[in-house]
Symmetry: C2
Subunit: 194 residues, 2 copies
């Protein structure tokens, strides 16, 4: 109903994140998930942190470029966590997860999601930034979270929708769903134009 | 583990909201829900909007005052939606819901949740405010939402965790869970002191 212009389109979400799939479903869209593995996720170190997520989303979209067919719309995304201009990736192991959560504790960081939406005749990419404020996290809370939630697949070692987000975050500025992995409101606006 | 001081306490959530129950569960707490019906929810019109939710939470807690036993901790809450100093209640009917969403469209409003936490020997109450920014909502989107989600039990006629929150809200300032009905991070901090 709302997406009359998308009626004959096949939307492809090129992300293996179950959270992104869930968020896109909440828009009421029909789509399929298609993922290529082995895409290089490094970037030129001269990029500014706020450019990295957008660059990676576009880079991912490029890997599908030759496969896009008529009526298809491809969506790719990348989320980074940025603390004082350093980018936090997925933690390598337990100690690395502790190190990241210690770093995020008691202060502000940025979560930036880059998105690329691409059809045969149109391509748009944008980044969306949310400020996230963590309260002080004590050692016991950090250990409890890592042991029980194993955030090894998450940039910055946390999911805002998990226990640590409930007990540790009292303020964000921007989109909540962007922190989870997709700025769904902006995606909705852009899709209406496709 | 985290709540050592609460081990022998019986927490009572005095709210019939399934969203509040779900939010409190995410803290990892064990509690029971106990609700009195027929509590008067009017307030003195001389109260400022930012005082109303706190007043109502305390007023609700008072209704249970004589029943609190040793080791019990009672939690009550009230959430209001405030646009340009007017308080929006639950909508009376379809047209009232349309009116409220038209009012909230394309601008900022406040969601204020007041909380009262009470044991035999301690009582604390506080309010938590989140700014919410709606994009422009068109007639079609408003109708689609009301028809499909029937937000008649929700102050301001919307749930941020429902479709309209995904397509319409691109920014908040403050706690997301506070908009859903409980400022869980602040409740967690306070419970640690009980």
């Amino acid at each position: 109903m709302i997406f009359n212009n998308l009626k004959n389109k096949n939307i492809i979400l090129a992300s293996k994140s179950p959270r992104r799939k869930q968020l896109l479903e909440e828009l009421g869209l029909t789509f399929e998930v298609k993922v290529k593995s082995g895409i290089d996720e490094t970037w030129n170190k001269e990029l500014k942190p706020e450019q990295v997520a957008g660059y990676l989303a576009e880079h991912k979209a490029k890997q599908y470029e030759h496969e896009i067919t008529e009526n298809q719309i491809l969506i790719t995304a990348d989320t980074i966590v940025c603390k004082d201009n350093d980018i936090l990736n997925k933690p390598a192991d337990y100690d690395d997860a502790v190190r990241m959560l210690d770093l995020l504790s008691d202060g502000k960081h940025l979560v930036i999601t880059g998105v690329c939406i691409k059809s045969l005749d149109r391509s748009v990419s944008f980044s969306c930034t949310t400020e996230v404020y963590f309260k002080h996290l004590c050692e016991e809370e950090i250990d409890y979270y890592i042991e029980n939630y194993k955030p090894y697949d998450k940039a910055g070692s946390y999911g805002i929708q998990e226990w640590i987000g409930y007990i540790g975050i009292d303020k964000i500025v921007g989109s909540f769903y962007n922190v989870m992995g997709l700025p769904v409101q902006k995606i909705y606006e852009e899709l209406k134009k496709f």
